[in-house]
Amino acid sequence: MAYNLKQVVAEKPSRFTSGHRMCAGCGAPPVARHILRALKPEDHAVVSCATGCMEVSTFIYPYTSWTDSFIHTAFENAAANIAGVEAAYVSLKRQGKLPQDHETKFIVFGGDGGTYDIGLQSLSGAMERGHDMVYVCYDNGAYMNTGIQRSSATPKFADTTTSPAGTKIPGKMQPRKDLTKVLAGHHLPYVGQTIAYMNFKDLYEKAEKAIYTKGPCFLNVLSPCPRGWGYPTDDLMLINKLAVETCYWPLYEIIDGKYVVNYKPKNKLPIEEFLKPQKRFKHMFKPGNEWMIEEFQKEVDTRWQELLDLEEMGNK
């Protein structure tokens, strides 16, 4: 059935309710809500979050924003946690102690700190063991919850509280880790990189594929943070759009090892467009710092070309 946004929203009630305490204009709640909408209404879900903004602000005792079972867990073991629940579920179902006629899906939401850095070992382990689960990383490019410290998802030259741009260093000194490709190295049945863009079609379809593909699946979603990135809260969708149109955040998926690039901008915008609205890159536009933009652009171009080559390789 073709995707119809209005129908999806009207017919599938939100499984991530209002009343959570994320910041105004946060990019993560629309992502989480739309991913959960990809579940069939009759299917149950068990959700867990790695420590991060989403965990601490959606599950403040005695309130929960999740209409599904939710497990509050730690930074380093979110994937291990849900993997254990999945294993128990499979076992109980086999023993006939659970009803056979309905499905339960297992989903983890982790920020980039809990996924790229601290939780990488448990994520890698769970993926390798082949549990039937989905790991969703909402990547906002730093430890936003604790005060914008750099993570390995922070792009090069970004100004954060632990990589402050000044006379000694030009912001973060290392380029970001490409986690989607790290996960692709686990040879998973489905890996996707997406963003909440336009009518959320890409996000929804990838979520649906990830949830209903048997085996471990991974989704990486860019989710802008107005506080940490330094842009006005109402610019959320503009930032998302620029991330895609500049190829900073390419939309692609890897199905059984085969790369598919879902969106190729007809007119690839220069990276300045994406950097300019964000305060964390402000120093890059000072006179004498042109080399930073050049280097950033080169990095983006290299990664984009690499991706196109990988797709072409798969078509041979």
């Binding site: 946004l5 309710t17 009343g19 105004a24 005792y61 924003s65 009518n199 959320l236």
Partner: protein, 95 residues
Amino acid sequence: MQNKIDANTPWEEMTPGGDIYEAGNAKEFKTGSWRSMKPKYLSEKCTQCGLCFPVCPEDAIPVNKEQKREDFNYDYCKGCGVCAKVCPFHAIEME
């Protein structure tokens, strides 16, 4: 029961393990008081294009069964303005 729990509740009256027994009860926590700007819905300009409701982080734009959006739910709207910015028809004004 656990909704009556607040900062002054003694530990004996809390739920064991900090469990929450009711799904999605965050709805009882109104975040509308966070708002400093207020979106105004101009229904006559609205074409029901569907760009505003998925982007709302608060789910504060109700969509009815006829797939049409309704006026804002100010109980939860935090006034971020994302909806006003994405509207191509200027049917949402921030004031």
